[in-house]
């Protein structure tokens, strides 16, 4: 019987390996994501069954060794080896060493494989696109291997129960789990064929999450193993055997698996309590009731404010087919289906460049930072789409035979929010597969066409409002033509500006206009000041002339009167009068003048009355010359 068990373990191992490789090849060929992940589970099952097979072989060797030792002891008839038999049990020591080091080590490796695979596969699923081809062949292969794995799994599980061969249990659990996963893959392929195109990716994601759960379970098992109370002679469970795998491979034993886990962890029989017994009996009914409640809940539909629903029965609209906000009743899924649309809510998309949003993730909240939007600072996505605008100057230059260097266009950065409402739900839902995408195409096309012939300087300044109206009309006309069922609410032209690299040049133009204004204002100030000063000076000069003139007249008149009096004195004694007048004048007016008296007998001799300052030599010489003459 031992040989039979050992052979079963080996067969399980090989079947898991072969089915894993073939399932991966066919899943890859057919583009089935879930099938490829199922192959990974088969691989994990292979590793687990290899390890449990080694453990099983070590235990068999230990048993054989013990039997040999007992036989030897009996044949010697004494207690010769009683003291040393523990040292001679090599196989036992080998098993103990294996369980002490290799089993926890393998459990850690298993946990890492599951955790890392979960992380990378989930990321891969976000980008992976596979074209589904020949999925029906894969369906056949999965069915075949599923059946083989199920039969072998059931057989091995039976052996575990009958022969108490616990080392077959991990492999048997993985065989059954893999069989069920292949079954799920078959259901997924059928669903895909029935029109549920996301069935494969949904299953793939579920399997990936399950991988993560297995990794977490392994981690917790390792952690709890440290604190678990050891009962001497009590059962030791296999560390790397997953309870979750056991649960999934034997769904009928959900409660018993849970009870065994609690029994093992706490060291007393929870499974003998009344709570356990009640749940074991009522669980199937509870699950059925839950499923029924779930199905019945699909009969109720609540349409929120701002929404409308499209009501379909077997794909055809029911009656008028549109549900207004409120509570509605329908036949259960999949007979009746309701699709919701945000019709009254104003929705928005950006034609041109998307804004780069600063997101602050502090305290786990997504917060848009309000910041100043400048032409000179990049506030859109890293690789902006620049729109072309005809350059009048360049076109004129080229028409006049100018040298052709760059295309006669200017570039404009534009981020135009377009707001819209769904006005005709039937047209919106049934005329186009991707109406939002088409709406964005149309809006961008109209923007591009309009800007090609627009006036660059006008569009970034005074022409914005006009451009907004024109674009709104053009987009509306086009979508009416194509029966898209949309009403354009607003086209915002609030983010039109020169591209960031040349924005400083545009700012320089504005700045130079300001400088021009400043220069003119300064000149005006100068003019005002100059004119005012000139007028003031003119008045001053005129007034001065008036004063001088007046003085001249007055003094002349006074001199005439004085002359009459002086004439009489003069006529009395002309010489005396003249000397007196001269000396009076000299004494009255020359008192403060510096005086040098030149001796006529010695012209080089100078008498200075004032010794504080020296006379300049040239002055003295000129005075001497005059005296000589």
């Amino acid at each position: 019987m031992q040989r039979n068990v050992s052979r079963t373990g080996l067969v399980n191992m090989l079947i898991l390996l072969v089915s894993g490789v073939l399932c991966f090849v066919f899943a890859r060929m057919s583009g089935l994501l879930a099938g490829q992940i199922t192959a990974l589970y088969l691989g994990l099952g292979f590793l687990v069954s290899v390890w449990s097979y080694i453990q099983m072989r070590l235990e068999q060797r230990e048993l054989l060794e013990r039997m040999e030792m007992e036989e030897l002891a009996r044949s010697k008839g004494g207690t010769l080896f009683e003291r040393t038999d523990e040292e001679l049990l090599v196989a036992k020591k080998a098993r103990e060493q294996f369980e002490k080091y290799f089993v926890p080590g393998f459990t850690i490796i298993l946990m890492l494989i599951e955790g890392i695979s979960c992380f990378y596969i989930y990321r891969w699923l976000g980008t992976a696109t596979f074209q589904k081809t020949q999925e029906l062949i894969a369906l056949g292969v999965f069915g075949l291997f599923g059946l083989i794995l199920f039969i072998l799994g059931k057989y091995s599980a039976g052996l575990v129960k009958l022969e108490q061969q616990k080392y077959l249990s991990p492999g048997a659990s993985f065989l059954l789990l893999s069989a069920y996963l292949l079954g799920a893959n078959i259901v997924s392929i059928i669903a895909f064929e029935a029109g549920f195109e996301n069935s494969d990716i949904v299953l793939a994601k579920i399997l990936t999450i399950l991988l993560g759960l297995l990794a977490v379970e392994n981690f917790l098992t390792l952690l709890l193993e440290i604190y678990r109370p050891r009962v001497r002679g009590g059962p030791e469970r296999i560390l790397y055997e997953s309870r979750l795998v056991g649960l999934l491979s034997k769904p009928e034993g959900v409660v018993s698996t849970a009870a065994h886990a609690i029994d093992y962890q706490f060291g007393f029989k929870v499974s003998e309590t009344w709570v356990y017994k009640f749940f074991r009996q009522a669980l199937p009914l509870l699950i059925l009731a839950q499923l029924l409640a779930l199905e019945l809940s699909t009969c109720l539909v609540v349409i929120e404010v701002g929404e409308k629903g499209l009501w379909e029965r077997f794909g055809k609209p029911v009656g008028e087919g549109i549900l207004e906000p409120g509570l509605h009743f329908k036949l259960p899924w999949p007979v009746d289906k309701v699709r919701r649309f945000r019709t009254d809510q104003v929705q928005q998309f950006i034609a041109g460049m998307e804004h780069a949003e600063d997101e602050n993730h502090e305290h786990g909240e997504k917060h848009k930072e309000k910041k100043v939007l400048l032409w000179t600072v990049q506030h859109t996505m890293k690789d902006p789409f620049l729109l072309l605008v005809a350059s009048k100057e360049q076109m004129g230059a080229q028409k006049n035979g100018g040298e052709r260097r760059s295309p006669p266009v200017n570039l404009l950065a534009a981020s135009i929010p377009v707001q819209y409402q769904v006005s005709d739900l039937f047209a919106w839902a049934y005329n186009y597969t991707e109406p939002e995408k088409l709406l964005k195409h149309i809006a961008t096309r109209e923007l591009v066409q309009y800007l090609l012939s627009a006036d660059y300087d006008e569009i970034i300044s005074s022409g914005r409002l006009r451009a907004s109206e024109i674009l709104k009309d053009r987009i509306q006309k086009k979508i009416d033509e194509l029966k898209l069922g949309v009403r354009i609410v607003n086209v915002g032209m609030n983010d039109l500006h020169p591209p960031v690299p040349i924005a400083p040049a545009y700012e320089e133009v504005v700045s130079s206009k300001q400088k021009q204004e400043a220069a003119i204002l300064k000149a005006n100030a100068h003019a005002i000041e100059t004119n005012a000063m000139a007028i003031a000076e003119a008045v001053k000069r005129t007034n001065m002339a008036i004063a001088v003139s007046r003085r001249l007249q007055e003094i002349s008149a006074a001199q005439a009167i004085a002359f009459t009096n002086q004439l009489a004195a003069y006529r009395a004694s002309p010489e005396v009068y003249k000397l007196r007048a001269y000396l009076d004048t000299l004494t009255q007016n020359a008192t403060k003048a510096r005086k040098y008296i030149m001796l006529s007998s010695n012209l080089s001799e100078v008498i200075q009355f004032n010794l504080e300052e020296n006379i300049r030599p040239e002055l003295l010489e000129s005075a001497a010359r005059a005296l000589k003459q």
Binding site: Y432, T433, K515, Q516, Y570
Partner: protein, 308 residues
């Protein structure tokens, strides 16, 4: 037992019934041959491998081409992106030529679309697309030409894809990176020219205003000077009327005027060089002489002299 029966019912429903939604059409194949077409509603089919169902969405699909570089007839490089609206008009032909895959149809369409727009734009000059005069723009005409070319390629006798292209639009026009840099440089230069023009215009206007102000100022001062001169001359004219009095004794008048002038000179900072023959210094030489004359000819004066 009940659960098993329910699951079995669901399983059979999936195998034998299929739904077609509004806007879709289903092709039912029996042993690989298209045998019937079904519109919206629930329909019966035999399970695989006897019958298979392929559903096609007959609504209009949007397809966007790549942002691709093309060359215009006059040698300019442009980046062009177009979009089309297409639908499956003939499901049988579509199933035969394309199969059941929409993405494969889009690959085929994109290839034909690229061929169409690169060919059509290559026949036009850049000014047909980009012009400052909207009446001369051939933007819509070029779109129509691309659409016509695409339709003719699709409906050629050898390749009937069962696809109808409903509309086409040019979504984006751009420039390659190197050309973009050149355009940036030119735009910068244009702005620089504008800056120089504005600044020099400002300086010109300021200079004009200043020189006008200076001229006006000079004119005002000149007029004031003329007025002052007139006022002074009138004053002198008035003063001259008193000269008749001086005619009685011109020598005395001249002497007095000279004295006045001397008085004025002496009021300023003056250095006098006097010799001993000049009155009253002649007293220093011959204090007892009573015949000493004025000696005015020996009188020397110098105005505004400053000693070093």
């Amino acid at each position: 037992m009940v659960v098993g029966a329910l699951l079995l019912a669901v399983f059979f429903a999936v195998l034998f019934i299929f739904q077609v939604r509004k806007g879709e059409i289903a092709v039912v194949t029996t042993f690989g041959k298209a045998t019937r077409f079904e519109g919206p509603g629930a329909h019966f089919k035999l399970p695989w491998p006897f019958q298979d169902v392929y559903k096609f969405d007959q609504r209009i699909h949007s397809l966007e081409s790549k942002f691709e570089q093309v060359q215009t007839a006059d040698g300019y490089n442009l980046l062009v992106m177009t979009y089309i609206g297409w639908n499956i008009e003939d499901p049988r032909s579509f199933y035969i030529t394309i199969g059941s895959s929409i993405s494969k149809a889009e690959e085929t369409l994109e290839s034909l679309l690229r061929n169409a727009y690169s060919g059509v734009i290559g026949r036009h000059n850049l000014s047909d697309l980009i012009t400052s005069d909207p009446t001369k723009s051939k933007f819509t005409q070029i779109e129509e030409e691309i659409l016509a070319k695409l339709r003719s390629d699709l409906q050629s006798s050898t390749n009937n894809y069962g696809i109808a292209v409903k509309f086409l639009g040019i979504k984006k026009l751009g420039l390659p990176e190197s050309v973009t840099e050149a355009v940036f440089e030119r735009m910068r230069s244009e702005r620089q020219v504008l800056v120089s023009k504005i600044q020099s215009e400002g300086e010109r206007q300021a200079s004009e205003i200043r020189s006008s102000a200076d001229t006006e100022s000079a004119k005002i001062l000149a007029e004031a000077d003329a007025q002052a001169l007139r006022i002074r001359s009138l004053g002198e004219l008035e003063a001259a009327k008193t000269y008749a009095e001086f005619k009685q004794e011109p020598e005395l008048a001249n002497f007095l005027l000279s004295l006045d002038a001397l008085e004025s000179f002496l009021k300023e900072k003056t250095v006098l060089f006097l010799d001993t023959q000049t009155a009253p210094l002649n007293l220093m030489k011959n204090p007892l002489s009573s015949t000493n004359t004025l000696g005015l000819t020996n009188f020397i004066f110098k105005n505004n002299l400053r000693t070093p």
